[in-house]
């Protein structure tokens, strides 16, 4: 049967996004989209701050972190100044446009059209008092952790926590 021929390849990526900083959101999106481009199934689980990436009013306003981010190579105090995050974010967005990277809303549309399943975490939604209608229409549903694990059953599934 099919399972006897399994060579160890990746068949499905289950990607959990728990952060709302732009760099983390993009990393998760690129990995999910990249999986589909290779013919690998992909599902995403948005939990805790990661929910902001699928929150209608918040997804356009995600930032990169300038404080507590050693890769920014700036003193923590400087990174905390007003406007610093906005400046770093706009610089990153310009660079991404140059690389033909879509913005968050368009990226979500691409993921959906590519067949990536998008799930919101029930517990995190309860915690932040989000309703289903606060989140994008393209969302496939709201799941518990157990439901998400069930989605990932089968040979060749890998899970990734971001």
């Amino acid at each position: 049967m099919k399972q006897n021929n399994y060579q160890g390849g990746i068949r499905k990526m289950m990607i959990i996004l728990s952060k709302a900083t732009l760099d983390n959101v993009y990393a998760a999106f690129v990995l999910a989209n990249g999986a589909r481009m290779e013919g690998i199934e992909a599902e995403m689980f948005f939990t805790f701050f990661g929910l902001e990436a699928v929150h209608k009013k918040k997804l356009e306003h995600l930032h990169i972190a300038t404080v507590g981010n050693p890769a920014m190579h700036m003193p923590t105090l400087l990174g905390g100044l007003p406007g610093m995050e906005a400046l770093a974010t706009s610089m990153m967005k310009k660079e991404m446009e140059r690389l033909d990277m879509p913005d968050v809303a368009e990226f979500l549309e691409i993921l959906k059209a590519s067949g990536v399943k998008l799930w919101a975490c029930k517990l995190a939604m309860d915690m932040f008092h989000y309703q289903r209608e606060d989140l994008i229409d393209d969302l496939d549903g709201v799941l518990t952790v157990g439901d998400f694990y069930k989605q990932g059953s089968g040979l060749g599934t890998h899970m990734l926590f971001i």
Binding site: V30, N33, M37, E38, G39, D100, I110, A113, S114, G115
Partner: protein, 102 residues
Amino acid sequence: MEKVIAGKQIDVTEEGFMTDFSQWDNTVGEALAQESSIQLTPRHWEVITYLQEQFKQEVPLSIRKIGKSGVVDIKEFYVLFPNAPLKTATKIAGIPKPVSCI
């Protein structure tokens, strides 16, 4: 390396992508599609022609560009060429494998 496709000697990479587009013609395209288990319809040909035009104009290909092409949307692209659509479609079109991550 060389490979016989549709009765012709064709230069390909190890992954099976053609390295000399001048060796491509419709029968080669048909044979390559068969290798990927795809039955080409007029819609497939429209997409293949678009990809080849982009290649000739040296435009790098990405899923995002396909979606904005006006030729096919991303959803249909995945239906026409299931399993790695951009790789499969460019392989059939006889053009190099795209290097884009998006």
